[in-house]
Every structure is written in structure tokens, then in C-alpha cells.
Symmetry: C2
Subunit: 322 residues, 2 copies
């Protein structure tokens, strides 16, 4: 089983409005409400891959009840801990030209007692678990060391962890020694305090250096997701890798990053070697970017990307040569 932790899930509401009146009354022609949050997307994708997954996290209020009802309809196994606060909403307005405005509510305040209740259930679930995924932001009230604590607990139970977060939670979490950390370019740039891309694209040498810094800080392996440029991996046991999709798919970037995490966790749980793990990750990321909704993916794109993705070792030298 793979345990996916989502401490700050959301109800994602999208309104499609052909022409938005930003100072008046709008009547959306289509309304969509779906459960979201990065960990929840990872769990949905693992469930769609037929992996044995359990979503754990915190849920509260009426919005939380909506998230749980939607998860139930999707059939994603979940063991969520009830909190007094209200699970957050995100609200996106998309116009006819595809331009989008996102309004993201802060998460609920979480008490020490509520987190302790979650943590007790999490520790129980670790028995017999092949991998743990810790993904997304922390709600207000939880310390930046929260993911580090959960990684320590997993390590004590012999369970490897995959971490995907940002800021201080990423800094503390990486230091706790997760098996894999999956930053994107913006997160690596924030940690390096400088840009890692130039007008020609990603600066692979600089990304590699930033990833090595995360390894040096404690991460077992680091897989950087670089959007349409694919993945760059610095592994502990198998050297450096690059994985690129054969084609660029316009679509949902959030979903793609979460799909990469799902594939990495799945590969870790079933013991795929790094080249195959990265091939699946880049293909699933591409297939997810091609789907309109985070947490869903195109199976046809997944299969075709698996056979056409380029995965190669020692990417910086390869890039310099070719």
C-alpha cells in the first residue's frame, strides 16, 4: 500500500464565463466542483493506476464534507481525520480566451490535538506500507517541521517517503532524509535564491547543482520537474538522469507535477529501476498535462509517451555534447 498524506485538501470550484465583467454580475455557463489539493491529486492518480492507495489527511466543515463525498464518488480510499476548521476552497474563473484568475482560500487552523489525532492514525497505517507520499502545502497552525516529523516516523517504521512541498516545509523535510524529493523549477529557484533558467530554457547545470544541494541537505534522491522540458534526477544509488517527453502537451501543469509524484511513489513501491521509474513519471506527467482536470490523465497519451519518452544518463554532459 502507498499512504498519501494531504494535510490541506480543497474543494476546487471553476466557473466558465465567456466574457467576464470584473465589476458586475456574471452568469457562468459551466460550473465544476472537484476535490483537490496536491496530495489528493496524487492519490487519485495512484488509484487510477490501480495501485493500492490510502489517502490520509485533515478534513473539516461543510466544504470538507463536499470533498469527502466527491472522493467517495471517485472511489479513492481515504481515512481523513476530522478537524473543527473549514476545509478551504479554491475558485477559478476561466474566460472564453482561456485566461484564468485563481482565488485560493487559506486553509483551516489546525490545533495540536487535531494533528496528534491524525499522527496517531498515520503511524498505525505505516505498518505494511511500501511508501509514503507527503504532498502540498501545510495548513495554518502546523509547524514547518511537520513533514520532517512524518518522515522521521516513516523512517522509524522502515517506510520510504516521497516529499513534494515548498519553502520551509521543504527545507526541514529534505533534512529528515526522504527517499525522494520532487521540487519544480520555481521551488528550486526559491531555495537557490536565483533563477535557474535563461531565455533558451532551463539551465540544466544550475538545476543539477541545486538538486545536489538538496541531496546534500538530506534527500536520498532529487527529481526536478521542469514542465515541458521533463525531469532531471540526481539519485543516490544510480547517478544522474534526464527524462524528456517526445512531444509537448499544452495543459494542466499542476496535475502534471502531481502525476510525476504518483509515478515516482509507485515506482518506489514496486521497485522499478530508475530509468523505468523516470520513463513512467515523464509519461504520466505528459498524460496528466493532456487531461483537463488535475488528478486525471489520458491513458492513450500515457501509453504512447511511455514508448517515445527519452531517458538518458548523465544529462548535463549529454546536453552539452548534443
Amino acid at each position: 500500500m502507498i499512504v498519501v498524506v494531504c494535510l490541506n485538501p480543497a474543494l476546487d470550484v471553476t466557473h466558465h464565463v465567456p466574457t467576464v465583467d470584473w465589476a458586475g454580475v456574471n452568469r457562468p455557463v459551466a460550473v465544476r466542483a472537484r476535490p483537490g489539493g496536491k496530495g489528493l491529486n496524487v492519490a487519485r492518480t495512484l488509484h487510477a493506476l490501480d495501485a493500492d492507495v490510502l489517502l490520509m489527511g485533515l478534513i473539516g466543515g461543510i466544504t470538507g464534507a463536499g470533498v469527502q463525498a466527491a472522493l467517495g464518488a471517485l472511489g479513492v480510499p481515504a481515512a481523513l481525520t476530522a478537524i473543527a476548521g473549514e476545509t478551504r476552497r479554491t475558485f477559478t474563473v476561466v474566460d472564453g480566451a482561456g485566461s484564468a484568475a485563481l482565488f485560493s482560500e487559506p486553509g483551516p487552523q489546525v490545533s495540536d490535538g487535531e494533528f496528534a489525532a491524525f499522527r496517531g492514525r498515520y503511524e498505525q497505517a505505516l505498518t505494511g506500507t511500501a511508501a509514503v507520499v507527503l504532498s502540498g502545502s501545510l495548513p495554518p497552525g502546523l509547524a514547518a517541521t511537520t513533514y520532517a516529523e512524518l518522515i522521521d516516523a516513516a523512517s522509524a517504521a522502515g517506510v520510504p517517503a516521497v516529499l513534494d512541498t515548498h519553502g520551509d516545509a521543504l527545507v526541514h523535510g529534505a533534512a529528515a532524509g526522504p527517499a525522494i524529493v520532487k521540487p519544480n523549477l520555481a521551488e528550486l529557484e526559491a531555495m537557490a535564491a536565483r533563477r535557474l533558467a535563461n531565455p533558451d530554457g532551463v539551465d540544466a547545470m544550475a538545476v543539477m547543482a541545486a538538486a545536489e544541494n538538496l541531496r546534500a541537505a538530506g534527500a536520498g534522491s532529487v527529481v526536478a520537474s521542469l514542465g515541458p522540458e521533463g525531469l532531471l534526477a540526481v539519485t543516490g544509488d544510480s547517478g544522474r538522469w534526464r527524462a524528456r517527453p517526445s512531444t509537448t502537451v499544452a495543459g494542466n501543469g499542476t496535475g502534471a507535477g502531481d502525476a510525476v509524484v504518483a509515478a515516482l511513489a509507485h515506482g518506489l513501491a514496486i521497485g522499478r529501476p530508475w530509468d523505468e521509474r523516470l520513463r513512467h513519471a515523464v509519461a504520466l506527467g505528459t498524460a496528466c498535462a493532456a487531461a483537463p482536470v488535475a488528478g486525471e490523465y489520458s491513458h492513450a497519451v500515457y501509453l504512447s509517451s511511455l514508448s517515445t519518452a527519452a531517458v538518458y544518463r548523465d544529462p548535463v554532459r549529454t546536453q552539452e555534447v548534443g
Copy 2:
């Protein structure tokens, strides 16, 4: 008891964002979620007035559960009929300058069977009821004659009705002979197919003519709400009246119209003469406009407005002279 019918309630969500990025990511500094819909606002106001009120209507899905939970917290007595569809949301973004964009979802599709279930409970509730309020839009699936049917049922039970809606539902509803119809200026203009105001303000003669047309169509009395210019009434038993607040209060226009309906229904139920009924209506409208949330009102403003509002007969001649 006063029965208030709200067939299309809503969960009203408001995000306060100091400076909105209409093409990017926004993090609201304040988030508010409240039960709404015009009938629901009327019921809240009647409850705040200590009137014996029962809110009836249709409710569905997770958003509906949110509306019911919030109503329970407010203590408003409600007997809502469950439907399969999802109760609608409205979403308002308010920026630091007070500019607002509203996104209003369509209501749920209502089946014949669901409406029949509601109607059965409504007819039972009419026994011993002093007045019925029918307020707001109709959700998809309900015929424009729906309010007319409900007014007919009330009439058969000897219960007077107050109607506040627009478009075809107003046309059909007025023809069914409600005791009072409360259009606003925009609704009267839509029925008259012409503007009823000029740059100097409301054209009272034209409003009077439009109100008389609604009376001729079947309404017992017509009270037009004219925003800061107060009320203009054409009654069946007491002639023509005008009621004006002594001061203009900037604020919530939606809430003000619903408060006027609440006061008119209350006055009808307890038998207030027209001058007092209109005095309370204009004062409560002013007090509600002064409150930040529809359905709430400032008690201090209500009391002071009661003593300072101007209520006089034959308003067109008065206006022409003075």
C-alpha cells in the same frame, strides 16, 4: 406564522482581495460564506424581528447542506424539501476599493416530483398561517407559473401572499392576485419596457402608472422600492403613498429590498395600517442597507429611521407641489 418560500437558495461566498490579479493567483485576506437567496434573507430578517417565521423551499447537495447548517446556526426555523440537484453558490470578489465582481451559478434542475413534494408540505403549512412570502428567482425546471400556483393555493386557504420576483414569474404571479407585489425600479422598467427614471431621479408619475398596471393585472397592492428614494405604494384599500428615509445610507441594496418585503409581510400579518406598514418598511430597508450583510440590519438605524422617515399620501401631487 409567516411562511417564506425560497425555491432557489444559495451559499453566498465572498473573497476580499486588496488588489485583484484578474489573470493570476490571488490569496484572499478574508473569506465569508453565508446562506443567501432573497427568500432566505426575508426569513432571516423576520426572525430577527422576533416574528414567527417558517422558511420553506428546495435544498440539495453539499452546498445545500452548508446552507442548512448555517441556517441552523442562525436559528431560523426551516422546513426545506430535499432535491437531487446541487443548491447554487454565488461568488463575489471585493477589492480594496470596494469594487465587486459577482459570479452567480444557475440553480439546480428541479423535477416535477420534487416540486410536488414541496407543494404538499407548503399546502399543509398554510393552515394557521397569517401570510406567505414568495421571493426570488425560480430554479431551472420550474414553470414561470409556479408562483401563480402557490398564490392560488394560498388564496384557497385564505392566506394573503407577498410576491417579490421578476420577469415572467412576476407577470404570471401578479395575475394570480397576491395581496402585495414588491417590484424594484428595474423590474418595473422591464415590465413597462421603458426607463422610469431621468437624470434628476425617479419619475414618480411613470412609476405610479407602472404600479397601477400591475394592480390592474391582478395585484391587490403594489409597493415599488426605489433605492435611496424610498417606497412608492399603490394600495387597493388606502390609496397612494410615498415613504422616504430621512437620510441616505450607502450599503447593501439587495438586503434593503428583502428587508422591505419582510416588513410588508410582517405588517400584513399583524394588521398594521398602510402608513405604519410603509414607515416600518422604509426604516427596515434603511437599517438593512446600513448592515454589511443581506438579511441583517442595524437596530439603532431601524429605530431612528422609524421616527424620522417621511410617509405621506398621494405622492405624485405632493412631489409636483413641493
